[in-house]
């Protein structure tokens, strides 16, 4: 791994972000709109005074964490799609760049996006709804890292599918994450799901994070089983999907499709 090459790809995207309104909107505008919408809904539910349910904390915490996950996934997929849209693969892959360095650069971009989104959303949540994300204290960091990794791995998965099936599959870059939302217990506990879906929910590392977050809110305690469960599930996904990505990359090189992605 050469840092200069990873840095080159990251800078290539940051150059683009700084002047592209749609890309900045993707990072800031939509998450803020989502936060405002859920913030108002939460405030309304709060006024209903449901016993034992702190709507603002539970729902806003979930919205912010969900955005960490979806931004991470999209950062990886869209970084790849930028090269497809600009037909830049040949230029990139005739350099000594390794596939692993390409993946690393997209993961770092995902981390940058999460930090940017986190700062903006945390600020707005505090300013408008007096919701302090830092009630999670240091537990916030492992939660964030878990979501960052899972989102990035999902991004790598959608990228592998786009590599294999071409840009007609690019809708996955924007919609794939939504397939998970009902089953990963973002806004409600796993126990709210039908029994069979409860088992399915624990196949997703994000479920452990959202359950853990609710645990912190409810009891103030950090659940190590949920934390390590998330890490273990994440590690499994990372290994399998990285292997799958390399397989797809080798396939497109064999099939001569690397430069025909448009």
């Amino acid at each position: 791994m050469k840092l200069s090459r990873i840095n080159g790809l990251i800078m290539r995207h940051l150059y683009l972000y700084k002047r592209s309104v749609p890309r900045l909107m993707d990072i800031f505008y939509w998450p803020v709109m989502e936060l405002l919408l859920w913030g108002f809904i939460s405030s309304f539910i709060e006024k209903l005074s449901l016993k034992g349910f702190n709507a603002v904390t539970v729902l806003l915490g979930a919205v912010i964490f969900w955005d960490f996950l979806s931004q991470s996934q999209r950062a990886v997929s869209v970084a790849f799609l930028e090269e497809v849209w600009e037909k830049n693969f040949l230029n990139i892959f005739v350099t000594p760049l390794r596939v692993g360095e390409f993946i690393a650069s997209t993961f770092i971009l995902a981390a940058i996006r999460i930090v940017l989104v986190g700062v903006v959303m945390t600020g707005i949540a505090f300013f408008f709804y007096h919701f302090n994300l830092f009630i999670f204290g240091f537990t916030l960091i492992p939660f964030m890292l878990n979501l960052l990794l899972f989102g990035a791995v999902l991004g790598l998965f959608t990228t592998a599918i786009i590599l294999r099936y071409g840009s007609s599959a690019q809708v996955l870059a924007f919609g794939f994450i939504m397939l998970l939302q009902p089953f990963t217990a973002v806004f409600y506990p796993v126990s709210a799901l039908p029994p069979i879906l409860q088992k399915l929910a624990y196949f997703f590392p994000s479920t452990y994070v959202f359950e853990g977050m609710r645990g912190v809110i409810a009891t103030g305690g950090f659940s190590y089983p949920l934390f390590w469960g998330g890490i273990a599930a994440n590690a499994l996904y990372a290994v399998v999907i990285t292997w799958f990505f390399y397989r797809m990359f080798a396939y497109v090189k064999r099939a001569g499709k690397l430069l025909k992605l448009d």
């Binding site: 050469k2 080159g8 290539r12 892959f93 000594p96 090189k253 430069l259």
Partner: protein
């Protein structure tokens, strides 16, 4: 002479369709070698296999005496590519594009290298401009600037002067000859402009339907086929007359 590219029995089949059928050739240090053939002959597939963008079905490619499949990183750090059909991202400025590729090639003095090459290709004033706003001639010079960022010892040029007017095409050819002479760069060159190939290439390799048909200097081939120029040699080989 030292072979820079050694291709042995290189073959590529897509599904049931053979694109390259066991070709072998060498390209030597400091020469400009034309890779010629009609559309669909297998030139692009061959170049993409040399650049490790397509995995060969069989055969061997050595560059600088090393096998691509085992030394990809070391080889590609000394190789570059330019084609008018492969544009740099239009939504970045010329400078941003060059800085990105300088980093990808591990160039130490990014600013200095871009500055001196920009002067060589007379594009310094274009550096702050968006790449999408550049003319075809300007883009060609930008692509060539990108192609020299890593001070390559081997340059693969895919129809570098197509879509250029005769004046700019001639200037580009003179630049390429200057680069070869000053930097001792070996070039593998594809073009459909036979007059250009005759002018610039030391040697040419003809491939047709994935097979190597002939090779030699333009003068040798013109004499061998008894034609007046390389264009007629091309027609003779392509039509089998």
């Amino acid at each position: 002479m030292l072979p820079i590219i050694e291709v042995k029995n290189l073959a590529k089949t897509f599904g049931q369709t053979p694109a390259v059928r066991g070709i072998s050739f060498d390209v030597y240090e400091g020469e400009i070698c034309g890779l010629l053939g009609p559309n669909g002959a297998g030139k692009t597939t061959t170049i993409q296999m040399i650049l490790d963008l397509i995995t060969p079905t069989s055969g061997e490619i050595k560059i600088f005496g090393k096998e691509m499949k085992h030394h990809r990183e070391a080889i590609l750090s000394r190789v570059n590519f330019s084609s008018p059909y492969v544009s740099l991202p239009g939504n970045l400025t010329a400078w941003e594009n060059l800085a990105t590729f300088a980093r990808l090639y591990g160039v130490r003095d990014v600013r200095g290298t871009i500055g001196s090459l920009a002067d060589f290709f007379e594009i310094r004033s274009l550096l702050p401009k968006m790449t999408a706003s550049l003319s075809t001639g300007q883009l060609t010079r930008l692509n060539l600037t990108k192609a020299l960022l890593n001070n390559p010892k081997l340059l693969l040029l895919d129809e570098p002067t197509s879509s250029l007017d005769p004046d700019i095409a001639d200037r580009t050819r003179q630049m390429l000859l200057k680069i070869r002479d000053e930097r001792k760069v070996t070039m593998l060159y594809t073009s459909h402009n036979m007059a250009e190939v005759e002018e610039i290439c030391d040697r040419v390799i003809f491939i047709q339907r994935g097979r190597l048909k002939d090779a030699g200097s333009p003068a040798e081939l013109i004499a061998k086929y008894g034609r007046k120029d390389l264009n007629d040699v091309f027609l003779a080989i392509a039509r089998g007359t």
